[in-house]
Symmetry: C2
Subunit: 352 residues, 2 copies
């Protein structure tokens, strides 16, 4: 088993109010690279930030890292077009950041990215992969792709109040700019991604297709973005069994409509509740309040904990550890700017 | 502890007879990417070959992978300019392959590569790193750098009969093409690398410098190439303690002169004998006959086994496993060309 994390960016995230995957749009550029760094090393090494929402809710990379420290699984980071830096080693399949979906073409290299990712997925020496994403603005591009494919336009959000009207308007303008209407790309997944998607969707669909073609079982780890990737795989004619593992926070989000969407795509849905309710900790309380909800493979990481001998209580303890180390690193680097975050002085005890 | 493997290429390797790090010069281009793949995944996934010498001696990546399966240490692969493909995730610090040392400039981006690597080394969250290399032709560029720095011109070889005259002639022509004489780059390590080195030397020196500056202990894992990197670090004014861990095959190679070189550089030398003598196995017998000798961090991997509770007998057993799986993968892919090596059907049992 290996966790595959696909990271990238879309200029769509620069639209004010559309994403909470960073403290502000400028810092949000660094979120994907920082997420990979955190899952790989326990803290940002070359990425300059610890991603938090505008209200301070920490990235779901914290939860995935905690699960990794608990279970010790391998991670493969895939760069589909990150904008910032990362100290995590990556396999590169992309052609740089995606454009705003309101440009005529959002992902010019969608086909090449898909094919490179498909080859990678086919070459992985694993019986099973669990695949997640990190891309701010990704729920909007997922809505774009689902709309273009004529699938249920489900959309979750990293914000407690999903800015649905804004997302729908951006997608409508994106379809318009690409010169086609909702449903026009049905059966042509790469056209949908190129027009109104993002490079991470192209890469997740490619890795998934290549993996199932070579007999590797695939668990999609995430919410509506991973469901949109599943839709792309289905529209590419792949009918292999797929499972989507998401968090209870996405499953309880009515706007996400994840159960109906996975059902219509013939994808098995598993939902894991990490038991954050009533826990007196700022990171976990923010999730209970509806922030973040999912991302960086969190739903799949929770699923792996559920399949293991470890308990959710073990995971919550480890989340506190990872969170405390990340904050300590941030404070330390602010106090001593000559020492980069991730220097030897902040080495995590739990590095697997 | 983390094993850092720096991979790259130099056109110098295309000189006939200068390196045995590949079956022929064309296949040799793929050796660094394949070596990273083998250490990461147990077999080439996106790289198209299992590297062997012209006589069939397998790459030392087999030994390092076997040690990794035995001990379970983390690996960070660093791309300083590989030419072929790899399925191993990498952090990129380079500007592409190095030119032939007989060009006026062998590594135009030496300074940038060194600085990016130095930043990476400073950001690693480890108390200790062990750093190795994979670059065909690298002993010749190491000889070039040692000569330019006015250090002892030690040089080992992946061939049983070290082609010393050829290497010295190539280095002399390289110095001439760069317009300076032996010793002219003393105290100016980046000038030495740019003129007659390779991008891996720049990156190894950079990671090492950044690591020791941030308090991380560094073990250089290899032979004369890692000693040349140590010379670069010393000429950059870094006098921190350094250890070079090499194999008994390099230590017994008089042309390598590794003891004298490390002594003059103020570098501690440790030598590990994996006990291949008298073992009836083609891979190990080739090393006893003087092939390969070192590479892909082999000396450091042996050192780590020596420091652990595992025995060299455990390692030798695991080497047979890794070797048999690699050959099985190669034969299987020849028989069924539609399935890439590394497909699910050849998943290694021992994947850590």
């Amino acid at each position: 088993m290996r966790l595959v994390l696909v990271a990238g960016t879309t200029e769509t995230a620069a639209e004010p109010g559309i994403s909470a995957a960073g403290a502000d749009p400028e810092l949000m550029r660094h979120t994907p690279g920082a997420d990979l760094d955190i899952v790989a090393h326990g803290e940002p090494t070359l990425a300059p930030v610890v991603p938090v929402s505008p209200t301070g809710c920490p990235t779901p990379a914290v939860m995935t890292r905690a699960a990794r420290e608990l279970l010790g699984f391998d991670v493969l980071a895939v760069d589909a077009g990150i904008a910032g830096r990362t100290g995590a080693p990556t396999v590169d399949v992309g052609d740089g950041p995606g454009a705003d979906v309101r440009e005529p073409t959002a992902v010019p290299g969608a086909g090449e990215t898909y094919e490179r990712a498909r080859e990678l997925g086919g070459a992985l020496p694993d019986d099973r992969i669990v695949i997640g994403e990190t891309i701010p603005g990704g729920t909007t591009t997922a809505l774009g792709v689902l709309t273009a494919l004529d699938e249920e336009p489900a959309v979750s959000s990293s914000l407690p109040e999903n800015p649905l009207d804004l997302k729908r308007r951006v997608v409508a303008e994106g379809l318009d700019a690409s010169g086609f209407a909702a449903g026009d790309a049905a059966g042509d997944p790469l056209r949908a991604v190129a027009a109104v998607g993002d490079p991470v969707l192209a890469a997740v669909a490619g890795v998934t297709t290549g993996a199932v073609e070579s007999g590797t079982a695939v668990t999609l780890a995430g919410g509506t973005q991973l469901a949109a990737a599943a839709a792309l795989v289905r529209h590419a004619g792949v009918d292999a069994p797929l499972t989507l593992a998401t968090t209870s926070f996405v499953a309880e989000d009515d706007s996400a409509g994840i159960a109906g969407l996975t059902d219509s795509l013939g994808v098995d849905l598993t939902v894991t509740d990490p038991g954050f309710d009533g826990v007196d900790h700022p990171a976990m309380a923010a999730y209970v309040a509806g922030e973040a909800k999912e991302g960086v493979g969190m739903g799949g990481a929770l699923r792996l904990v559920g399949e293991s001998a470890a308990s959710m209580a073990d995971l919550r303890e480890r989340i506190v550890d990872v969170y405390d180390r990340l904050l300590a690193g941030t404070e330390s680097s602010e106090g001593t700017p000559e020492e980069p975050p991730g220097g030897a002085g902040t080495a995590p005890e739990g590095e697997p």
